[in-house]
C-alpha cells in the first residue's frame, strides 16, 4: 500500500507541526483534533498530536490520527515541556485544553509563518475595552521547537506568562493573528460563527467509540467514551439508551423552549405567566381526566389475566418449559437466605428451573455468603465482571447471555412471589395474544404495617398495581413495568436487546420500548411481595432514583416519538400522560401548593395577584383540579387499598399529601442527579424488616401463618 506523503507548503522551513494538547474529557475533543488534522492535511502539512493524559489505562487511541500519548501526572502548565521534548517536527502548536478557539484559527496562524518567524500568537490589539473577553491569555501558540526549548522553564508557569514573555521578548520575531478582531461587528459575527461551529460539533459528535469484536468477545458489549470504558452487555443502540441525557435535537428543543419562555417573560412577563399557568392547568386537568378514566376502566374491564386453581392442577408438568429466574443482588446478603427459601417454595419442577444469582465482582461479602449457602443444583451464581456502569440492568444483560429458559422472570432479592406464579405465567402466556411478550405480576409489600412510611408506600403500590396498571392494560397503553416479577418470552426479550444498562429504571424503559416495537404487556392476578422501604432516607434515595429513571426514560423515548406509531398512534399521548405527566407534576406540585396555600392564608394581599394570573376558564379548570382532582387522587389510594384488602391502611391515606411532598423533594434531588451523576444507581438497602422479625417471616414461609398477629398477607405465602 502506497503511503501518503505531505508536501511542505505555507510553512516552509519547517518539516511539520507537532500539536501539543492536554486531553480534555469534553465530548468534542476528538472531533476537535480531527478537524485540526483535516485542516493541516488540506494544507499538506505533516503533523502529529502529542496528547498529554493523566491515565493511559482509560484512554483509547484513535488509530486514524497520528497520536502520541504522553502520560503526565503534573497538572500544571509545565506539562507541555514533556511534549516539546518528545515532538518530532520543528514547529510546535501549543493548544490550550479549554478548546476555546475553533481549529480553523490554526489555518490563519500557519499563514503567518515565515522562515524568520519564531512564534505566532493571537493578537489582542484591537479588542474593544468594553468587551469582556480576556484575550491576554494563552489559547493557541505556534512556536519553533528550537526556540521553545530555549525558553526558561520558569515561563511555563502559566499560559498567560508564556504568551506575555513571547510577545514582549526582543529576541522573538512574533507574528500576530488578528482574526475576527478587526471590527466589533466582524468580531461578533466571527464569534457567532465559531459558537455555532462549536455548538454543531458538540451536538453532532457523540465521542463514543464502540468496542471492536475482539474486545466484545473478551469483555462483552460496550464502548469507549472520553477514554473511559463502558460495558453494558447489550448492543442496544446509543440513541435507545440513557447514556446521554439529551439527544442533540432534544438539547436544541429544550434550549429553544427555555429561550422562548425567557423572551416571553422579557416581552410581557404577566401574559407569559398566564399562558404558562394555563398550559400547566390544562396538563393537570388532562391528567385528572385520564386518571379517572383509568380507574373506571380498571373496574369495569377488569382486564387482569386470571388463572384458576383448576387450570393449574391440570398442568402436565412434563410439558412445562425451562424457566429462568434472574436475581440481581448487590450487597444484599441479609435477604439472600429468605430469597432462596421463597424460590425453593415455588410450585414448579425444579429440574426445569434455572435460577441465576447475579452478583457483582466487587461485592465480596454477598459472593461469600452465597457460596456458603449450599445452594440447590438449579441455582447458579454468576459473577458480573466489575466495570462501569454498575447497575441492575447491566447485570441482567449479563445474565441474559447465559439464560436457557423459554420463559424468564426477574425477582429482586427480597421478593416473595406467590407459589404458583410461574405456572400461572406459563398458562397465561399460552392463552394470550403472541404480541403480549411480558406479563407483569402485581407487586405489594409484606411489611405494610411496619411504620407509617411503609403504610403509605403500600397504599401507593396498591393504587399502582391494582388500579393504574390494569387500567393501562385495558386500553393497550404502554405499561411502565415494575422492577421485578416481569415474566418474559425469552426470544422476544433477546430481540428487544435486553435492558438499558444506563437507565436507572430499566423496567419502565423496557415496558415502553416493547410497546414501541409493537409488543404488549399484560397484568396477571398474582402477587409478589417485597419489602417496603421503612426508612425515610432510604425511601428518599430510592424515590429519587425512580424519578430520575422516569426522566431518563422520557428523554430516551422522545428522541424518536414517531416509533410509537409501530404500536398505536395514541400510545404517544399515553406515554406523555403516564411518564411525562407524572414526572412534570412532581416538579410543579410544590409551586401549585404554595400558591394555593398563599391564596387562602393571605387572600387579602396575595389573592388578587394570583387571581389576575387566572383567566376564568383556566380558573375553573384549576378549581376543578384543586377541589376534585386532589380528592380523586387521594381517594384512588383508598380504592387501591380496599381492592388489595388493606382496610386498615385506608385511614392513613389522609396523610398521603405529606407523601406527595416527599416525592416532590425526591424529584428535585433526581433532577440534580440527572445533571451530576445520571447513571448512578442509588442502591436501596433491604432487610430492615428482618431485624425485628426475620425468624417469623422465614418460618411463615413454611407454615403459611400470619406473623406476630400482623398481616404478612397470607396469600403471599400460600399463592
Amino acid at each position: 500500500m502506497k503511503r501518503k506523503t505531505f508536501k511542505l507548503s505555507g510553512i516552509s522551513g519547517h518539516n511539520g507541526i507537532s500539536i501539543i494538547i492536554p486531553f480534555n474529557k469534553k465530548i468534542a475533543f476528538f472531533q476537535y483534533i480531527k478537524r485540526i488534522s483535516k485542516i493541516l492535511k488540506q494544507k499538506k502539512i505533516k503533523h502529529e498530536f502529542l496528547i498529554i493524559i493523566e491515565n493511559q489505562d482509560k484512554f483509547s487511541i484513535q488509530k486514524e490520527l497520528p497520536i502520541k500519548l504522553i502520560e503526565e501526572k503534573n497538572k500544571t502548565f509545565s506539562r507541555y515541556l514533556s511534549g516539546i521534548n518528545l515532538s518530532k517536527y520543528s514547529m510546535l502548536a501549543l493548544v490550550d485544553d479549554e478548546l476555546k478557539y475553533p481549529p480553523e484559527i490554526l489555518k490563519e496562524m500557519v499563514k503567518k509563518v515565515s522562515p524568520l518567524t519564531d512564534a505566532v500568537i493571537i493578537s489582542p490589539k484591537k479588542i474593544k475595552k468594553n468587551l469582556k473577553f480576556n484575550f491576554e491569555r494563552f489559547d493557541v501558540v505556534l512556536i519553533k521547537k528550537e526556540r521553545a526549548q530555549k525558553i526558561d522553564q520558569a515561563y511555563f508557569e502559566s499560559g498567560q506568562v508564556l504568551t506575555s514573555f513571547i510577545k514582549n521578548s526582543a529576541e522573538f520575531k512574533v507574528e500576530f493573528v488578528e482574526t475576527f478582531l478587526n471590527s466589533e461587528k466582524k468580531q461578533f459575527s466571527k464569534l457567532f460563527y465559531f459558537f455555532i461551529l462549536s455548538l454543531k460539533s458538540k451536538l453532532t459528535a457523540s465521542g463514543v467509540t464502540p468496542f471492536k469484536n475482539e474486545i466484545i468477545k473478551i469483555k462483552g458489549e460496550g464502548f469507549f467514551y472520553k477514554g473511559i470504558e463502558f460495558i453494558s452487555h447489550t448492543n442496544l443502540p446509543l440513541d435507545e439508551n440513557a447514556f446521554f441525557n439529551f439527544s442533540p435535537q432534544e438539547k436544541l428543543l429544550f434550549f429553544s423552549l427555555l429561550i422562548l419562555i425567557f423572551l416571553g417573560f422579557l416581552e410581557n412577563w404577566k401574559y407569559s405567566l398566564i399562558v404558562l399557568i394555563g398550559v400547566l392547568t390544562i396538563l393537570y386537568f388532562s391528567d385528572l381526566v385520564f386518571s379517572l378514566f383509568l380507574i373506571i376502566r380498571a373496574f369495569v374491564k377488569n382486564p387482569e389475566i386470571r388463572i384458576s386453581d383448576e387450570e393449574i392442577n391440570k398442568i402436565d408438568e412434563s410439558k412445562l418449559p425451562i424457566y429462568t429466574i434472574f436475581c440481581p443482588l448487590y450487597k444484599e446478603w441479609s435477604v439472600l437466605s429468605q430469597f432462596t427459601k421463597s424460590i425453593e417454595k415455588l410450585d414448579y419442577p425444579k429440574e426445569k428451573l434455572q435460577v441465576m444469582l447475579l452478583l457483582e465482582e466487587n461485592d465480596k461479602k454477598t459472593i461469600e455468603e452465597a457460596n456458603k449457602l449450599n445452594l440447590p443444583s438449579y441455582f447458579r451464581i454468576l459473577i458480573v465482571p466489575d466495570g462501569v456502569p454498575k447497575t441492575k440492568p447491566k447485570a441482567l444483560n449479563y445474565g441474559l447471555k447465559y439464560a436457557k429458559g423459554e420463559l424468564a422472570v426477574i425477582y429482586d432479592a427480597e421478593d416473595i412471589p406467590q407459589r404458583d406464579q410461574l405456572k400461572k405465567a406459563f398458562l397465561a402466556f399460552k392463552k394470550i395474544d403472541k404480541k403480549i411478550v411480558c406479563i407483569q405480576a402485581k407487586l405489594n409489600y409484606y411489611n405494610p404495617y411496619q411504620n407509617l412510611l411503609t403504610r403509605l408506600f403500600a397504599a401507593e403500590y396498591s393504587l399502582w398495581f391494582d388500579l393504574i396498571l390494569p387500567g393501562l392494560q385495558s386500553i393497550d397503553a404502554p405499561i411502565p413495568l415494575g422492577g421485578t416479577s416481569n415474566h418474559f418470552r425469552m426470544n422476544e426479550l433477546k430481540k428487544l436487546k435486553g435492558w438499558d444498562a444506563f437507565n436507572v429504571t430499566e423496567d419502565c424503559d423496557l415496558g415502553i420500548r416493547l410497546a414501541k416495537k409493537g409488543y404488549k404487556t399484560a397484568i396477571m392476578d398474582s402477587t409478589t411481595f417485597e419489602e417496603a422501604n421503612s426508612r425515610i432516607l432510604n425511601w428518599y434515595r430510592q424515590r429519587s432514583r425512580w424519578i430520575k429513571g422516569y426522566i431518563q426514560t422520557y428523554l430516551v423515548h422522545m428522541r424518536k416519538p414517531h416509533e410509537f406509531n409501530l404500536g398505536k398512534n395514541i400510545n404517544l399521548i399515553f406515554f406523555q400522560l403516564v411518564v411525562g405527566g407524572k414526572v412534570l407534576s412532581i416538579f410543579i406540585n410544590p409551586f401549585m401548593w404554595l400558591m394555593t396555600i398563599s391564596y387562602f392564608l393571605f387572600k387579602v394581599t396575595v389573592g388578587p395577584i394570583i387571581e389576575s394570573f387566572y383567566p376564568p376558564i383556566v380558573m375553573y379548570a384549576g378549581v376543578v383540579c384543586l377541589v376534585f382532582g386532589n380528592f380523586l387522587y387521594l381517594y384512588s389510594y383508598m380504592i387501591g387499598c380496599a381492592k388489595r384488602k388493606y382496610f386498615e391502611l385506608i385511614k392513613y391515606v389522609f396523610l398521603i399529601p405529606f407523601y406527595w411532598f416527599g416525592m416532590s423533594l425526591a424529584g428535585w434531588k433526581s433532577l440534580y442527579e440527572m445533571i451530576t451523576k445520571p447513571h448512578f444507581w442509588a442502591k436501596t438497602v433491604h432487610g430492615f424488616h428482618l431485624v425485628k422479625n426475620q425468624k417469623e417471616i422465614i418460618s411463615s414461609l413454611a407454615t403459611n401463618q400470619k406473623i406476630d398477629g400482623e398481616k404478612v398477607p397470607i396469600e403471599a405465602l400460600s399463592g
Binding site: K301, A428, Y620, Y635, C641, A642, F647, I650, K651
Partner: protein
Amino acid sequence: MNNLLSYKIKFKIDDEIDKPLIKKTFAMSVFLGTISSIFSFLNDYILAYGDAESHLNIAKRVVSGLVPGLAQLGGVWLPLPHILLIPFVYFDSLWQTGLAGSIVSGVCFAISAIFIYKLTFLLVNKHSVSFLAAVVFITNPNILYLQSTPMSELPLIAFFLLNIYFFIKYLKKTDSILFLVSAAFFGFLASLSRYDGWFLVIIEALFVLILNLNKKGGLKIVEGNFLLFSSLAFYGMFLWIIWNYIIFKTPFYFLNSQFSAGSQQLAWLLRNELPAYKNIVLSFLYYFVTALSNSGIIIFAVAIMGLVYFLINKNETNKFFITLTLLSPFIFYVISLFLGQSVIFIPILTPESFEWRLFNVRYGVMMVPAASIFFAYFFKDLKKLSLIFVSSLLVFQTLLYVFGASSVISLADGVYGLSAAKKVDAEEWMKKNYDGGLVLLDDYSRTLSVIRSNIKMKDLIYIGTKPYWEESLDEPEKYAKWIVMQKEDEVWKKIYDRPEIQARLYKYFNKVYTSNEILIFKRI
C-alpha cells in the same frame, strides 16, 4: 383479538336486565315526559313555581351578568341542579321559557324510570314486576309535572335512585368495592342536589358500619368500608360547608342565614302557623298525607301493603336496611318538620284559619319511587301478573286525577298555592316600557319576575352583584337606569326609607310606575 378477549372477565352490570323492557321503559318515560313538558309549556306551567325561575336565574348568573362566576351559585340552595342547568340557560330562549329546566329534569326523569326498573328487579327478580314499578312511576302526574320544570326534585330523585340501586347491590355483595364506591359517588351527587341527600348518605354510612360489624376481620373492615364510603359520600357536604365559609365567611350560612329554611320557618312560627313544629304525630301525619297525595291514594295504599309484605317475607335479606334507605326521605321530612326546618301546608290537615293552606306539598314526590317499588312488590309472587287487575287499579287512580277527586297536588301548589310565582302588573308594565339599561332590583324578595319583565340578566343589579349593589344603595344614580322597589324589600329600605337617599332618588329619577306595593323609577 378474540384470544385477548377470552381471558377478560367483562364486568356487566346489566347481565340481569331484560333489554326490550328497559327500552320500553326508556321510550315510555321520554314520550310521556315530552308530552308533559309540552303541556306545561303551552299552559305556562313550567315557571309556575316561584322557585322555578329562581333556579334558572341562579344558573344563568353564573354565565351571564355584571359579575358572572361560580360564586353566583350562592350558599343556601345546593349547587348541583344549577350546575346541570348552566349549559342550557346559556341560551336565552331556554332560560326565558324554562325549557332548560325541562331538559335537565326530563333527563333525570328517564334515568329515574330506568333505575326504578333495575332497582325493583334487584328485589323481585321479575321483569314484569319491575316494569310495573317503572310504569307506576312514569305515569305519576306529580312526577310528570315536576319533570317539566327547573325544580330540583327530579335531579335528586335520579341520584337518590342511582345511589340506592348500588347500595342495595352492595348490601347483597358486601365485599364489592365497586358497588360501595358507586353508591358513595351517587350519594355525593345527591348530597349536592338537596339536603335530603345529606340524610340519605348519613344513614347509609351508619348502615355500612353496622353491616360490617359481623364480618371476619373485625373493626378494621368496619373502619375501612366506612371510610371508603363516607370519604366520598360526605365530600359534598364538606365542600358545601367550605364553600359557605369562603363565600359568606360562615361555614353554616345555609343553616343560619336570613335566606335559610330555618329562618323562613321562624316567620311562620311567629305567626303561629308552624303546626308540625315539635309535634311528632303531626309531623308524621303531614308528611304521610303529602306523600299519599303525591303518590295517588290507590297506589299508596297498595304500596303500604307491598311494604308490609316485603317486611314479613322471610326470604328477603337486608329488609331493614333496604326499607330504611328507600324511606329515608320520609324520615328526613318528618324530622325536619318536627325541628321546624321545613313547613308543609296541605288542605286536609292545615287549619282553615291559616292564610295559606297549600305549600311545599311537592316534598311528597320523594316518596313516589318507594311507592312505585312497593306497589309492584305487592304483586311479585302472583304466578301470573293479572294484567286486568293491575291495569284497572292504575286506570282507577288515573280517573281519580282526571275527574278531580285527586288533584295533581304538586301542580296545584305551583298554580294557586303559596309556592306559586307571584305575578304582578309591574311585570307587564316593564315588559312594555323597559328600554334597556341597568335595573336595580331586590331579586331575593321576588319583587317582579326578571324573565317576565324581559330584563336581560346582564342588566340586573341585585344582591349578588357586588360592588354594584352596595354602591347603588348609597348612590342610586351611579349605575342604574331603572330602580324597582317593593314595600319592605331591601331597595325600599335602603333608598326609599332613608330621606337623604330618597332625595337623591328624586333628583335623578322620575317615578314612572306606581302600585300599592311596587314603585318603578327611571333616570331622568
